[in-house]
């Protein structure tokens, strides 16, 4: 009896040790997989190409750095202002249409920035309908701002990227309990003062996370800034690579770029700091909504309408009218009939697979970081999420190198062992593409999962562990129910991002694996905007599904949210 009990103790101890080992190594291994392509790229820096650098510094690099900084500043200001302002408006006030705007304002997330770019360009440039009409009314000499400028690029990016901040801010505001808010009000703060002194600071981690996502997306974009003649570093990397045919110099430029991205991420960490705001006790009820009256209510409605119109209705309407025009051509319609569904299904399946893989890996990483506070593990996790800060083309190049090495190893091993040459297994296969997506969008999945894990307060976990639950069981019974919203959000975001992704897809898509974004790009690059409208519109519509899902899940998980 005693013997068996001590035996089981030993067994339990062994199991615990094994589990501990698993949880300390698994995340590191997973992180390593994500990091390898980036490391292999950086390793190429060992052979610097000085000549190109000298030319770049002497010519366009200073302008690129300046433009990149301007873009980041502009996008940060616009997304923060729009995202948090609108989120507060719909969370704290009632006004005509507020229920609709509550979910509608996130829809621009489904519009890819480059689609927004070409729609705005085609609408507002000199030859576009708006300026043409204005010239017809006020004469040809009327001076209108040139949309083909840095200002145009910043505006378009701000309008498509603010939903990142909006979504996270809205969730954060909803989670704040009204008791704190009411206390502040009772102490004499106005609602506005309370917003700036209490609500915003409490939501800081979410706001910073949202702005960071928006900034990294803006930084890595190369297609949109090109429409606007606004040369940024990301555009420069593609330019050096493809125009100057110098991949090594492009990779060196990426390293400099990585430095910028690292700065953003470190700043994010610093801003988030140690701040972990746990709302004490049960979340009783949300901040009470106040019904706006008089001019205020119409001002609120007008503001929301204007932004929703500019960021979603306008591009959607333009795309619809172009699509209708394109489909009225019988020949085109017939070709489309045969190929369209294939594009949709392929794109959907690809995005869904990538989303599931990314979220699972993010879960392992987040759990690993939580379980061991080891510096090494945490650094590995941090590195694993750096892909979001790199242009897709650069990641694709890293993945190409990585899978080529794996393939060659497998080939030579198989030849020497079995005398069979299996050929290239991974290069040009779907695995390479999914690999690139996971590396590129790990941060999106990880941030969502991790930030929802913060909601699992340490004492919940300690309680469960004290009661004898294994880490796996804690994860299954305590974490999972609490973080499933975060997981769903992460998966939805990755899904939409993959669907919009362009450079890595172009570089790595296997034969026949053409996606909607490639279709759009090929036609838009030729200025065949009418024909590019159908695939763009499809990306937007399919992208709406996970976004709506996101809203539903979010609403169900928030007490009082579904009333």
């Amino acid at each position: 009896m005693e013997l068996s009990s001590s035996l089981s103790t030993v067994r339990a101890r062994r199991a615990t040790a094994a589990r501990r080992l698993l949880w300390s190594t698994l995340p590191v291994m997973v992180a390593a997989m994500v990091v390898v392509p980036m490391v292999l790229l950086v390793a190429r820096l060992l052979h610097p190409t000085g000549e190109v650098w000298a030319q770049l510094w002497g010519t366009i690099l200073p302008e690129m750095i300046r433009n990149t900084l301007l873009l980041m500043l502009g996008v940060a200001v616009i997304t923060l202002a729009l995202g948090s302002g609108l989120a507060w408006l719909v969370t704290a006030y009632r006004f005509p249409g507020s229920r609709i705007f509550d979910w509608a304002l996130i829809l621009p997330l489904a519009v890819p920035t480059y689609v927004m770019g070409f729609v705005y360009m085609a609408t507002f440039d000199f030859a576009g309908p708006v300026q043409t009409t204005l010239r017809a009314w006020f004469g040809a000499d009327i001076a209108l701002p040139n949309i083909r400028s840095g200002g145009g690029a910043i505006l378009v990016m701000g309008l498509t990227l603010y939903p990142y901040v909006y979504f996270l801010a809205r969730a954060a505001f909803r989670e704040q309990s009204s008791s704190t808010f009411d206390a502040a009000r009772a102490m004499g703060y106005t609602r506005l003062q309370t917003f700036f002194r209490l609500v915003l600071p409490l939501a800081r981690p979410s706001l910073v996370a949202g702005v960071t996502l928006a900034l990294l997306e803006a930084m890595t974009d190369f297609a949109t800034v090109r429409f606007f003649n606004f040369r940024t570093m990301s555009e420069g990397i593609v330019h050096v690579w493809q125009g100057m045919m110098n991949r090594d110099a492009a990779i060196e430029l990426s390293a400099l770029f990585l430095f910028f991205a690292l700065t953003i991420v470190i700043v994010e960490r610093l801003l988030r700091g140690r701040a972990r705001y746990y709302q004490p006790g049960r979340r009783t009820r949300q901040i009470t909504r106040v019904t706006l009256v008089g001019w205020r209510k119409w001002a609120a409605t007008a503001t929301c309408t204007a932004i929703f119109g500019a960021a979603f209705l306008l591009p959607a309407a333009r795309l619809v009218s172009w699509t209708v025009g394109d489909l009225s051509n019988v020949a085109t319609a017939n070709v489309l009939k045969t190929v369209y569904l294939g594009y949709v299904v392929r794109t959907f399946a690809l995005a869904a697979t990538a989303a599931v893989i990314a979220v699972l890996i993010a879960l392992i990483l987040a759990q690993g970081t939580r379980m061991n506070t080891g510096r090494f593990g945490r650094a590995a996790t941090r590195l694993a999420t750096m892909g979001y800060a790199l242009p897709g083309a650069v990641i694709a190049a890293g993945v190409l190198i990585t899978v080529a090495i794996i393939d060659r190893t497998v080939m030579s091993a198989s030849e020497s062992l079995f005398g069979i040459n299996p050929g290239l297994l991974l290069t040009g296969s779907i695995v390479g593409l999914l690999y690139a997506y996971v590396v590129r969008f790990m941060a999106v999945a990880y941030n969502s999962v991790e930030s929802s894990m913060v909601k699992v307060t340490p004492n919940m976990e300690e309680a469960a562990r004290t009661l004898g639950a294994t880490p796996g069981r804690v994860m299954w019974r305590v974490h999972l129910p609490l973080i499933k919203v975060g997981m769903a959000a992460g998966a939805a975001l990755v899904f939409v991002d993959v669907m919009k992704e362009l450079p890595a897809t172009i570089l790595l898509a296997p034969f026949g694996m053409e996606t909607l974004s490639m279709w759009t790009y090929m036609l838009a690059a030729e200025s065949l905007w009418e024909s590019a409208a159908l695939p763009s519109l499809t990306i937007v519509i399919v992208g709406l599904i996970p976004v709506m899902l996101l809203m539903r899940v979010g609403r169900m998980a928030t007490p009082g949210g579904n009333q």
Binding site: F126, A349, L507, E514, L528
Partner: protein, 346 residues
């Protein structure tokens, strides 16, 4: 009908992981029927219809993977001798030269090709062949501009064009090839002077030939440099479109001509099928000047001298091309980019 449309039969080559989703979605083509696989950077014009014609005639299925030129070159390099691509189709002579120069294309001896394609539209070592010609020249609106004032690319450096030009940015391969042709004709120093002259005139940079033409029509600028077929497309949609094209440098070296062309990859598994396709594309059916042919479907000029161009572009009048060999485009492209950077060309 179905078999003929390349899109519908995406190749079944997901050997690595059996992701059931993808297998059911992406596969389904017969594995043992004769095929030819193409990496293509050309994604306009009715390419599917043409391939369908080729398949109907030869029974060889055409599979296409589209992408941008550098992405596909990068892929060809990475895949090396194991590439699935049998042919590489590009819309810029520079890209073809780059591929050939990297050893990605092989020489092809074919009497048919030698007969169909003039010598100056083939690589000297027969590693690639032009299939259509596009001319990059000067567009203007009659009435606002006297065509005799803009008879050359060099003439656009004149002060009187200040604030009146629309040009395509340096990131575009057509601009790069045009400047490469200036380097080949004048040497680097003089070419840089010319580009600096354009820059001094503060052109509006628009990254779309179509939009350049529309902006000229709307009065946003008076002249610009575009490929001829973009004007052809606009005229096809609206015969009254007010912009005209003139052929530059006709009294000198000739107008800047680029090509779209094709080569057989060094590691082609279906070499014979690829050659058959190229021969077919260079013949009367593939070269047709109407919608059924490769040049015609995009309003480009055929390379086969026996075939007439589309009436819309034939109306632009005859032209003499800069005799610059096709191989020079790629050789000077990187220099052209650096030159434009130094000159402050966007």
């Amino acid at each position: 009908m179905n078999r003929s449309i390349a899109y519908l039969r995406p190749a079944c080559r997901y050997r690595a992981v059996s992701l059931a989703v993808f297998l059911t979605v992406a596969c389904g083509g017969a594995a043992d029927s004769p095929v030819v696989n193409i990496y293509s950077t050309r994604h306009y014009g009715a390419m599917e219809l043409m391939y369908a014609g080729f398949t109907a005639e030869t029974g060889i299925e055409v599979r296409v993977s589209h992408g941008n030129m550098h992405a596909l070159l990068e892929r060809l390099r990475a895949e090396g001798e194991h590439t699935v691509a049998d042919a590489f189709l590009a819309v810029d002579a520079g890209g073809l030269w780059l591929a050939a120069n990297d050893g990605l294309l092989q020489s092809v001896e074919s009497a048919v090709l030698e007969q169909n394609i003039p010598e100056n539209l083939r690589d000297p070592e027969n590693r690639f062949f032009a299939l259509s010609q596009r001319v990059r020249s000067i567009a203007y609106v009659p009435g606002r501009v006297d065509p005799s004032e803009i008879s050359t690319y060099e003439a656009l450096t004149d002060r009187k064009w200040r604030g009146r030009l629309c040009l395509r940015p340096s990131t575009n391969v057509y601009t790069q090839s045009l400047v490469a042709s200036l380097i080949a004709a004048h040497g680097e120093a003089r070419a840089e002077e010319i580009v600096r002259g354009w820059v001094a005139n503060e052109p509006e940079y628009i990254d779309s030939d179509t939009r350049i033409l529309e902006t000229i029509a709307a009065g946003g600028c008076d002249a610009g440099i575009t490929n001829h077929y973009y004007l052809g497309r606009l005229l096809k949609a609206n015969p009254d479109f007010p912009v005209k094209m003139l052929w530059a440098n006709q009294d000198g070296r000739g107008v800047h001509r680029n090509v779209s062309g094709i080569g057989v990859t060094a590691a082609a598994a279906h070499r014979e099928n690829a050659i058959k396709l190229i021969e077919w594309l260079s013949g009367p059916a593939g070269q047709a000047g109407d919608d059924s042919g490769l040049p015609g479907s995009n309003l480009e000029f055929p390379v086969n001298p026996d075939v007439d161009p589309h009436p819309i572009i034939a109306a632009f009048g005859p032209w003499t091309a800069d005799p610059m060999p096709l191989a020079e485009y790629g050789r000077y492209q990187a220099d052209a980019v650096k030159l434009m950077e130094r000159a402050g060309y966007r």
